[in-house]
Amino acid sequence: MSEATGEPLIEVRDLVKHFPITRGIIFQKKIGAVKAVDGISFDVHRGETLGIVGESGCGKSTTARLLVKLLEATSGEIRFDGRDLTQLRGAELKQMRREMQMIFQDPYSSLNPRKTVGSIIGEPFSIHNMLPGKDERKKRVQDLMEMVGLNPEHYNRYPHEFSGGQRQRIGVARALALDPKLLIADEPVSALDVSIQAQVLNLLRDLQSRLGLTVVFIAHDLSVVRHMCDRVAVMYLGKIVEFGPGGALYEFPRHPYTGALLSAVPVVDPTRHGRERKLLTGDVPSPVNPPSACRFHTRCPKATEICSTDEPQLVPQDSGTTVACHHLLTHEEALELGVRGWG
């Protein structure tokens, strides 16, 4: 883990992203919206790793894309280093983009198969008109390759000549080319084999501490997030339901959804074979028409009437996390879910 300073690099306030659903080809009419991200606020501290977890469709990847402005926010504010990203345009935005880079999930489709590895990793320099000298650029690219554990002699090879883990290293080298402050990793290891996963995770952690990077780490695998992250945000249907330090969140989850997620993770411990699990029933509701007030109330074992009428606000708890729930889990209930608990 990293040395986080507690000083924010990114401040997100009331961020909203709605994708319109339209009908008609020539005369398009908006008939609804997919509320992918619906009013979230959080800070990312300098030098920390922030994890975002949740089921598919909860808005975690949309959040990542909003942070680097690959998507235009519907409303809200993203302050990066004190400047509002949502207002930046043209040259200023391009300048800002150097500071933030992204690593994608699929190492097969995120590299151009017709380009050599050298030109893929060197591409950011062309885009930003840096290092025009050919030798200079090659030298820098080879340094980057070495830094991520690739053989610099493979400069002229094509992506298909590399294995999945090595391709992900190419993606990492490309992301680090411009010395960014922020790295956004969207499911960086979920396409990799178990033994390769650990190599890439260790690489990311090592690079982070060497380069002082701030990382936003998005994954559906809760164990991987636990291993990598200082603080964790749990998202459900476009909202943050619980947020806080990894230790507190995993040992004593307060939101019933966090508890259900943790309880669902298979444990590598055969003595717990056949244990009774508290299962969530049903599927995630549609983000087009999310449930009223607390969006989790349709699946929540603790839901009462108030949950469908009053939306709970994020409130800091003594146990260390900030939670949006009317009926917090007690310590006994958390233990029943199979988490470690306190003491």
């Binding site: 883990m1 089921e55 598919s56 294995s163 999945g164 883990g165 090595q166 084999d193 178990v194 033994s195 390769i196 996963q197 650990a198 190599q199 995770l201 260790n202 559906h220 809760l222 164990s223 991987v224 636990r226 291993h227 990598m228 990894g246 230790g247 995993y250 259900a260 997620l261 943790l262 309880s263 669902a264 993770v265 298979p266 444990v267 590598v268 411990d269 055969p270 003595t271 717990r272 074979h273 056949g274 699990r277 299962l279 969530l280 029933t281 599927d283 995630v284 470690r340």
Partner: protein, 366 residues
């Protein structure tokens, strides 16, 4: 385990595919058994041969021109030698399979109900009406709400979890005695995965069928399996009961897998037992390198190029699966001496890196 209890016995199975680049030996001489009513987990990385072995059980590799050797005994019938017509009577009837991706395994242009009805009528002479009733019953049984209405939906109208439930319902239509599930939950979210695993456990309890679950996820096998086979590069390298495999793993590849996964409790496997002390090592220890090509696999022990404990002779000697000392049910294919291996694991489980373990185990011996 006595042979009478075995529902499926795979003996010396090899499957090779001729390709332009050479012959791919996807499975190279493996043997295992599946006990009636129990669950066997097959774990391995992509390319280890775990899926090919199971597809071959159902004769699904025949069309690809595979060269198949060995025997797959389903009770007293050999599925490898069986004619395609006879095999068709077994497949989907006595032995059924659930695949990883339910969207591509269901036909997109037929309703779920039609596909379920066909699954029964392919094997049984029943009326369409009776088959449809059975389909509704099965959909309800696997937990699809309002099955009488949902039966006429198309696959795309189902969510991912519901599609996998429908696949399981289809597999169960003829009450198979063996269900082969190939990465049944890999494409699903954790909460849905937990539902599907719980469903499979309940069905096994109630219907008494045997299950082979193929996965790369050690957590899933730890929860589901009674016995576990670990595969690497077309071979089984270790075979034991689930409890034994996680408590006393014997093969360096199994150690490597265990040490490369982070756990939900925030520690890696090696330091789990030490949680009462102050030891909290958070480093993952990956296996170096990547899985080998199956066209020209490494000589000797196939794991030797990636094994931190390998000795020069391991590049020449092919290890055989042998019972571990004092544990007849536990077999492992490793060339290291039993005693040395145990000293290594004693150190690895408390958080030593492979290099520290080698140094420590060497000192002890001296």
């Amino acid at each position: 385990m006595s042979t009478e209890e075995l529902l499926l016995r795979v003996e010396g199975l090899s499957v090779a595919f001729p390709t332009e680049d050479g012959v791919v030996r996807a499975v190279d001489g493996i043997s295992y058994g599946v006990t009636k009513g129990k669950t066997l987990g097959i774990v391995g990385e992509s390319g280890s041969g775990k899926t090919v072995a199971s597809l071959t059980t159902l004769g699904l590799t025949r069309r690809q021109g595979a060269d198949i050797k060995g025997r797959i005994m389903f009770e007293d019938r050999d599925l490898v030698a069986m004619s395609e017509d006879d095999l068709r009577k077994v497949r989907g009837n006595e032995v059924a399979m659930v695949f990883q991706d339910p969207l591509s395994s269901l036909h997109p242009l037929y309703t779920v109900g039609k596909q379920l009805v066909e699954a029964v009528r392919a094997h049984r002479d029943v009326s369409k009406k009776a088959a449809r009733e059975r389909a509704i019953e099965m959909l309800g049984y696997v937990g699809i709400p309002d099955p009488a209405r949902r039966i006429d939906d198309f696959p795309h109208e189902f969510s991912g979890g519901m599609r996998q439930r429908a696949m399981i319902a289809m597999a169960l239509m003829n009450e198979p005695r063996l269900l082969i599930a190939d990465e049944p939950t890999t494409a699903l979210d954790v909460t849905v995965q937990a539902q599907i695993l719980a469903l499979m456990e309940r069905l096994q309890r109630e219907l008494g069928m045997a299950i082979v679950i193929i996965t790369h996820d050690l957590g899933v096998v730890a929860e589901m399996a009674d016995d576990i086979a670990v595969m690497y590069a077309g071979n089984i390298v270790e075979y034991a009961t689930a409890q034994t495999l996680f408590e006393r793993p014997e093969h360096p590849y199994t150690w490597g897998l265990l040490r490369s996964i982070p756990t939900i409790e925030g520690q890696t496997w090696g330091s789990m037992r030490e949680r009462s002390g102050n030891v909290e090592r958070r480093e993952l220890v990956p296996i170096q390198g990547s899985p080998p090509s199956l066209i020209s696999p490494p000589s000797g022990c196939r794991f030797h190029p990636r094994c931190p404990y390998a000795e020069p002779s391991h590049a020449e000697i092919v290890p055989l699966l042998q019972p571990v000392a004092e544990e007849p049910q536990h077999v492992s294919a490793c060339l290291l001496a039993d005693e040395y291996r145990r000293r290594l694991w004693e150190r690895l489980r408390t958080g030593d890196t492979p290099a520290e373990a080698i140094a420590g185990a060497g000192e002890e011996a001296a």
